[in-house]
């Protein structure tokens, strides 16, 4: 039985860089359309709750918008989808079924942290505060 010639591979690996990515210090390269964190643009959201009904992981809860924000007239019930990213499976069903295409899809994937992350921080920045 002949051995495969490993010598070339050994020499190549001696001069090449390590394949391991030092993750928190170096970001993993992902595609621009990678399915990352998604959140609703509240300027377009009508509060119809279809995404919360269709979510396979039950990660979306319709939540009242705090009173200090100006809400467009198309959202009379003043509610918005609050996504719990700990439960979310990033299947993008909510993005695809939204009748007003209100969802903003990003390729952000590094959401692990000490506090629980929800879409509140992203969604509410799309609205103006009252008086500002």
């Amino acid at each position: 039985v002949k051995r495969p010639r490993l010598l070339g591979l050994v020499l190549k690996n001696l001069v090449s860089k390590p394949a391991t990515i030092q993750y928190p210090r170096v970001k993993t390269p992902v595609e621009p359309d990678f399915r990352g964190v998604q959140y609703a643009d509240l300027g377009k959201c009508t509060g119809c709750s279809l995404c919360a009904i269709e979510c396979p992981a039950d990660a979306i809860k319709m939540t009242p918008i705090p009173p200090e924000y100006e809400v467009p007239k198309t959202n009379p019930r003043r509610i918005y989808p609050l996504i719990n990213y700990g439960k979310c499976v990033f299947c993008y069903r909510c993005v695809k079924v939204c009748p007003t295409n209100a969802y903003i899809a990003t390729n952000k994937y590094d959401i692990a942290g000490v506090s629980r992350l929800t879409s509140e921080v992203f969604s509410l920045t799309t609205l103006r505060r009252v008086g500002s």
Binding site: V1, K2, R3, P4, L9, A19, V30, E31, D33, F34, R35, E54, C55, P56, A57, V89, F90, C91, Y92, R93, K96, V97, P99
Partner: protein, 399 residues
Amino acid sequence: LGVTKIVEIPVVTAEIPVGPQHPALHEPLLLKVYAEGEEVVKVEVNTGYNHRGIEKLCERNTFYRDIFVVGRVCGICNAVHANCYVRALEQLLDLHPNKRAQYLRVLAMELERVHSHMLINAVMAEIVGFETLFMQIMLDRERVMKAKEILTGSRVLADYMMVGGVRRDIDEEKRQRIRELLLKLKPRVEYYRRVFEEDETIVKRLVGVGRISYGEATSHSLVGPTARGSGVKIDSRVSDKYDAYGEIPFNLVTRSEGDSWARMMVRWDEALESIEMSIYILEHLPSDGNPVPDEKRLPRRFPPGEAYTRVEAQRGELTYYLMSDGKGQNPYRVKIRTPSFNNIINSAFMYIGYSLADVPVMLTSLDPCISCMERATVIDLEKNTRYRLDLKQLAGGKL
């Protein structure tokens, strides 16, 4: 050293539990091995450590939510699970996706087959004690994962199948990038195949271990590469020609040896076939319309009826039975039969006569996927017995 006394140890059968948590096994499965000395005389396969109630969960969710639920049955083969379920839904609705969507579906499934076969071959290299090879194969597997990320938007969980088509299209740039990745991967897979063919460590551990004859493979209804390694020509892609498999040229790989080595070689040859198929798809992708259906306009109501579909998953034939009563938005019944269910439970005969150290090798050569296969068992804890119930009793809750 002068020997003064010889103690004879009588040969007794020892019961050795291998698993469910065991350093040599990557899956939660209990093999109760009865050994006389080093020789295995009997093996009992014990399952039930990974049951998650997916079928019941499917009955409690809507038809569309279930597409994503069945994708989570198994991480490695999520696209084939979703494809099988989606084709069952299309059978109920009498919908036919266009050619481009069918080609893209096959592309996603074949990329998945490449990375699954590379994974189990890497695991096999680790089990036989060749950890460098494990690292090397896993490094090159990243190329397929990247190709899958470009195609579907995620490395592992594709969520690519939708009733009436796929969930995203590819453009010219993506097509070129996936093609380049595959062309770079192909010589590496050929190299690893040669390593499995020529390397002394691997050949010594695998050749002649866990032999299954043609007759045994058919009488125990083994499926997939396990059966094809024994020369059985069984492949749903060839016999059913679902999606675009009727138009894409590929060879059915079989080997006659029937041992662990033959099963691994079938996987390498299939991985090479899959790479060829993927490149063919990328070069001959038809453009007969939009493959992405509008998910807002898909039919909400499903007519009453039954559908039964099968796909060739990486481990063998995977079947879905779907029943709709036409009343609500949920399926009445979803029955999943995965290939590992056949391959693991029916293959206890294979271990007999081999050494105890070969048990992990033989199990790995079957490509076990326990999270796929765990379905329901009824156990009475008070009386410490287990029994079967027919479906009517189980649904009615009466004993």
